[in-house]
Amino acid sequence: MAALGRPLAALPFGHGTQHAAGGLALFDSYHCSRYNTNTGVLTPDMFREVFAAVRRYLDDR
């Protein structure tokens, strides 16, 4: 986020959230670590949804 020169607070994180910043679409995702998947923070389905959204976004452009 900071690499794009935007304040972190301007774009609150949320898994599956999509933001627009500097002409780019940003998709938030929990990290696909074993810790997150084992604890149920991130299920494989949740992770797939993020990339499904990215796919739709790029295909619709």
């Binding site: 986020m1 020169g5 998709f27 990339f51």
Partner: protein, 375 residues
């Protein structure tokens, strides 16, 4: 340096430049200075900042200010304040840094090049802020004298030329410095960052000069970890294997090189085509994942889920086998890490993210088709 039609704005820290020129013993030809930049692009504004002593009948700087005002410069002045300090000494106060900074920030999104004439290191934060104004993807670079900048002589009436090799030899410590900054904008995001800064030490102002403030802070330019690309900009893999920026990560790296000599144990380069539209930004290499294999998300559990998911949506082709030589290819997609070295307990410190942002920015800046980012 500039391309015709690109918009330029000059910011001259009057007191600082005046004092430096004076200490070097040459005059600055302001008319030629203006012409020089007019020939390089579209000169939008040439600001000249100075404080003036109002209550005096004659001010040595007044004729210059009037001339500049009539000849195309935007002169920004304010009256100095005079006061007597505790020890009973008379002091004159008149600092234009805020005015300059405010103007620079206001105009930053309308220009392609900002040229700052000052040796004052305090402006570094302004320069960085101006760069962040657009998409904020460029970083300051050390100014490298180029032939085109050099004057034909450095005699008494040296005209525009802040950087002259022979003059430099004559008085190495009294160079003026010019910081040239190219604000980023979405339109030129993919272009080569053309920004320079000449790290120089302004000379302390002579007593006679109307310099309100010339401090001797050096404009520090961080020693870059990476190699410089021939074109002058930093590319993603310029980080090399021995980036020295984060002491904690360097220590861990050396430790790991001893314990696990077969592992990658170095900054992990980005993976995937530069022309991809999607960039996936991981947190940092996993100890036994990217740090071991040298490819992002490769070799530990995180990669299993990521690459399977990418393949499912057409962002990867081939078989992922947790090895960098498994032949897996990314399609329209690139993967990088916000911090490129493995951190202790897989948790990078805030300062480490900040240090490494320099490389993340370079990665983003070199992707011409980038449209989406997953983090």
């Amino acid at each position: 340096m500039t391309v015709p039609g690109e918009k330029i704005a000059l910011f001259i820290d009057g007191a600082n430049l005046y004092a430096t020129a004076k200490s070097l013993g040459f005059d600055i030809d302001y008319k030629r200075l203006l012409r020089e930049f007019q020939s390089r692009g579209y000169l939008l504004r040439a600001f000249y900042y100075t404080a003036v002593v109002e209550d005096q009948e004659y001010s040595s700087i007044r004729p210059l200010i009037d001339w500049l005002d009539y000849n195309g410069y935007t002169v920004v002045t304010k009256a100095t304040k005079e006061f007597v300090d505790q020890t009973g000494r008379r002091k004159v106060k008149g600092n234009m840094d805020i005015e300059l900074a405010v103007n620079a920030m206001e105009i930053a999104s309308h220009i392609d090049h900002m040229v700052l004439f000052s040796g004052d290191g305090d402006f570094r934060s302004l320069v960085e802020a101006v760069q962040r104004k657009g998409s904020g993807l460029l970083s300051p670079r050390r100014y490298r004298p180029s032939r085109r900048w050099l004057p034909t002589n450095c005699g008494d009436r040296l005209t525009f030329s802040l950087i002259s090799p022979s003059c430099r030899q004559k008085s190495a410590a009294t160079r003026a410095s010019a910081l040239i900054v190219r604000p980023a904008s979405p339109g030129n995001r993919a272009s080569i960052p053309r920004s320079f800064s000449n790290a120089a030490r302004p000379h302390r102002a002579p007593r006679s000069a109307p310099a309100m403030k010339t401090n001797s802070t050096r404009t520090e330019t961080r020693a870059h970890a990476g190699r410089r690309h021939p074109a002058g900009h930093l590319i993603d893999d310029d980080i090399g294997r021995d980036c020295p920026r984060c002491p904690r990560l360097v220590a861990l790296r050396h430790d790991l090189r001893e314990k696990q000599p077969a592992w990658h144990n170095a900054p992990v380069p980005s993976f995937g085509p530069v022309k991809g539209r999607l960039l996936i930004v991981g947190l940092a290499p996993g100890l036994q994942g990217a740090n071991r294999t040298g490819r992002p998300f490769t070799g530990d559990y995180a990669g299993d889920l990521l690459y399977a998911t990418l393949a499912r949506f057409g962002f990867a082709s081939g078989e992922y086998a947790a090895r960098p030589d498994d032949g897996l290819r990314l399609v329209d997609t690139r993967i990088t890490n916000a911090v490129r070295c493995v951190p202790p307990e897989n948790k990078p410190a805030g300062e480490e993210s900040k240090q490494c942002r320099y490389f993340l920015k370079a990665t983003i800046a070199e992707m011409p088709n980038l449209a989406a980012l997953v983090s």
